[in-house]
């Protein structure tokens, strides 16, 4: 047996602030897969809000702190396709005018993975031991799907969860309307898009909605809750790790 790979968890700001249990679920999944997990203290955000708002300088400054904080690990794993995509796809582009930093960014990008695809593609995890009694539908978040090719991996692991049935919704690859600051700046349009999405979730007949990105999950959960819908909304890592606290938006002790 070779030495365990040293994996740094990039928590992401939304998991850090809203849903620490996703972070702990990610740690459990990584440890179960045979990784030695560390959480570098000097981390905050990947810088995407600045990058997508056109504030390239701030995005570069934040990216430099991330590059420094995550130096030296075998892998950097992120429980979000969006933040992982930022590091993996956009950091190298961000430093197009700074070759030295661009090299560091490429080096980090090569070691960085979205959580679920890391488990399946790199750690060769075939299944999990968790149990979840319910019918789930899975939303393919945009960056994970189109920037990183996260599509089959979550479905593969969900298929191994005892008691869980996966029912695909219509248009599972269509955006939920979150889009970061878009949801605030263009809230009317965002709302219309998430209304379509929650319609499809409802029509799928699932009792649980899963996805790999907190931003999308907050958006879809918020819309479902406003409509009085009782669909449980969870990050996929919670289900795969067998963590069963209250679903997103549920009060402690269940709805």
């Amino acid at each position: 047996m070779t030495e365990k790979p040293r994996v740094a968890l990039f928590v992401t700001c939304l998991v850090d602030l809203f849903r620490p249990s996703v972070g702990f679920a990610a740690v459990k999944l990584l440890e179960d897969a045979g990784c030695a997990v560390e959480v570098p203290r000097l981390q905050s955000c990947c810088g995407q809000p600045a990058y997508n708002s056109g504030d390239r300088k701030s995005a570069q400054a934040i990216a430099r702190t991330v590059i420094a904080a995550f130096a030296g690990f075998d892998y950097v794993v992120v429980p979000s396709g969006s933040c992982a995509g930022m590091i993996k796809v956009h950091y190298p582009a961000l430093f197009a005018d700074d070759p030295a930093s661009a090299d560091d960014a490429r080096e980090l990008a090569a070691r960085t993975h979205e959580l679920i695809s890391f488990l399946v593609d790199v750690m060769k995890v075939e299944g999990v031991t968790a149990r979840y009694d319910g019918v789930a539908t899975y939303h393919d978040s945009c960056s994970g799907l189109r920037e990183l090719g996260v599509k089959a991996q979550p479905r593969k692991l969900l298929a191994s969860v005892a008691g869980l049935t996966l029912k695909e919704m219509r248009d599972c690859e269509v955006c939920c309307g979150f889009g970061g600051t878009f949801a605030i700046k263009y809230s009317d349009i965002s709302d219309k898009i998430v209304e379509e999405k929650t319609g499809n979730i409802r029509a799928s007949g699932a009792d649980t909605l899963l996805a790999g990105d907190m931003g999308c999950l907050l958006n879809m959960a918020g819309k479902l809750e406003r409509a009085g819908d009782r669909t449980k909304v969870r990050h996929i890592a919670e289900v795969l790790a067998g963590v069963a606290g209250p679903a997103l938006g549920e009060p402690e002790g269940g709805a």
């Binding site: 928590v11 700001c13 850090d16 602030l17 809203f18 849903r19 620490p20 249990s21 972070g23 702990f24 570098p40 203290r41 000097l42 981390q43 905050s44 955000c45 809000p49 997508n52 708002s53 056109g54 504030d55 390239r56 701030s58 400054a61 934040i62 702190t65 904080a69 582009a93 945009c142 960056s143 189109r146 920037e147 269509v174 955006c175 309307g177 979150f178 889009g179 970061g180 878009f182 605030i184 700046k185 263009y186 809230s187 009317d188 349009i189 965002s190 219309k192 898009i193 379509e196 907050l218 958006n219 959960a221 918020g222 819309k223 809750e225 406003r226 606290g245 938006g249 009060p251 402690e252």
Partner: protein
């Protein structure tokens, strides 16, 4: 066309509340997106074809001057004329001069987005010449005095009841009791109205999907055959085309044509693909007496060599519109100028200025669907981000937004400080929200909570919990 892109948000709100538009937009998915997916699935060499097409356009743009001059030489050799126009005003004057020279009173028009960009109809009308749109969708919006909402299906935002009503109001000499319930009846009626106008027109104006340098030809694709009647019957045919429409050879055009119809409508090929090369020759059975190509720059040459050059690969298939969740929610007129959807969000600021069109590249979730379906692999989200960067450099975004971003950026750059702020935030929001598990109103996210709840945080930040659980474990 006077831009209303500054009023994008108000336009969008109006569109979101328009039940007819919302009903019409549902057809986009079944009518375009699903058919495209089917057509692409039938073609194993799709990705290879995209690569080839991109290579053709890249080469063309790298030597644009050469190919355009080659095209012009061929057009002249065939007996036609090329008019180089820097902007819309020059192009409009050129068209008017040709029409006046021929004493034209009516002009038939095939669909042309360059014509929309120029506002050529208004210019002709203001000078006593009547333009008649002959593409059914264009005809409908012309009689309704509306701008197009889509680059290949200009009336896609309308439902058939609205069209029937417009027909009744416009075609007043027809029997008022006639049935106009289905699209077949409306098609027949438009055809009957338009047929004599084709025959009477003095000049025909079309756009061009391609200009072929090798032969001096213009190529148009249509599904109605109206383009053929427009360009072959009158005394003169005027082609309105922008610089980047040129391709080196007929074979190159054929390669890109294989992508075009599939991306646009899911057809393998459009019903009519017409190659027109110069005016009628002595032995030709038909054809226009004169052949003019109005070659419009209108800011495009300034994009060459810059971060928006890739946009000049666009072949106007509209796949990006059809797959865009934002476009599908609000329709094309909300964008406030000629080109809507993702391609418009990149192109419009280049043509009318980012001050006018700043909303457009911002109103995107960056979902990436547009780039993934673009047959020419144009990195649309990346270029929208470039526009946001230019906007930011010029301090154009609202002050409150810039301030919020600056405050957030201050902490995000200082992770040691950020950790405490995040934990404090998680504790406060978690404490306040734990009763219901979610917020129905949040002052700093009012746009969100007007229509959605905001799930409450669990109450502690991950980083603080992790540090606690690790005990005094040495940090890195």
């Amino acid at each position: 066309m006077k831009p209303t892109s500054r009023a994008f948000k108000a336009n969008a709100r109006h569109a979101l509340g328009d039940p007819n538009l919302q009903r019409a937009m549902v057809n986009l998915r079944t009518g375009f997106a699903e058919r495209r997916a089917h057509a692409v699935a039938q073609l194993p060499e799709w990705e290879e074809l995209r690569e080839q097409a991109v290579a053709i356009k890249k080469d063309t743009l790298a030597h644009l001057d050469f190919y355009l001059e080659a095209f012009e030489q061929k057009v002249i050799a065939n007996g036609g004329q090329v008019h180089w126009c820097r902007d819309a005003a020059e192009a409009n004057e050129t068209v008017l001069a040709i029409c006046r020279h021929l004493g034209a009173t009516t002009v038939t028009k095939g669909k042309s987005m360059i014509g929309e960009e120029m506002g050529v109809n208004d210019h002709l009308e203001a000078n006593g010449i009547t333009p008649i749109e002959t593409d059914l969708g264009e005809y409908i919006i012309q009689i309704r005095h509306e701008p197009p909402s889509h680059i290949i299906a200009p009336a896609v935002h309308l439902v058939k009841e609205q069209i029937a009503q417009s027909f009744r109001e416009t075609h007043r000499d027809l029997d008022a009791a006639r049935p106009l319930n289905d699209s077949r009846q409306m098609c027949d009626e438009a055809r009957a109205i338009l047929r004599p106008r084709f025959l009477a027109a003095d000049v025909g104006i079309t756009g061009a999907n391609f200009l072929v340098a090798e032969t001096g030809s213009s190529i148009i694709v249509t599904n109605e055959g109206n383009g053929d009647l427009t360009q072959t019957l009158p005394k003169a045919h005027i082609v309105l085309a922008s610089l980047e429409k040129v391709v080196p050879t007929l074979e190159d055009a054929a390669t890109i044509l294989r992508l075009l119809a599939r991306s646009a409508t899911g057809q393998e090929f459009s019903s009519y693909t017409t190659v027109l090369t110069g005016p009628r020759r002595r032995d030709d059975a038909d054809g226009p007496g004169e052949y003019h190509v109005v070659l419009l720059d209108n800011g495009r040459s300034a994009l060459l060599g810059g971060e928006f050059e890739d946009m000049l690969r666009c072949i106007r298939c509209a796949a990006c519109l059809n797959h865009c969740p934002v476009y599908r929610a609000i329709g094309g007129q909300s964008y406030g100028w000629v080109y809507p959807g993702p391609m418009g969000s990149v192109l419009t600021p280049s043509l009318i200025g980012i001050e006018q069109a700043g909303n457009l590249p911002n109103a995107s979730t960056f979902c990436g669907q547009c780039e993934s379906v673009c047959p020419m692999k144009i990195p649309l989200p990346k270029m929208m981000r470039h526009w946001r960067e230019r906007e930011f450099q010029r301090h154009l975004p609202p002050r409150a937004y810039r301030l919020g971003l600056a405050v957030w950026g201050f902490f995000a750059r200082r992770p040691a400080l950020y950790r405490h702020v995040a934990d404090a935030g998680a504790r406060v929001l978690g404490y306040v929200g734990r009763g219901r598990g979610r917020f129905r109103a949040l002052p700093f996210a009012a746009g969100w909570t007007r229509t959605r709840d905001m799930p409450a945080p669990e109450g502690r930040s991950f980083m603080s919990l992790w540090t606690e659980r690790q005990g005094q474990r040495k940090s890195r």
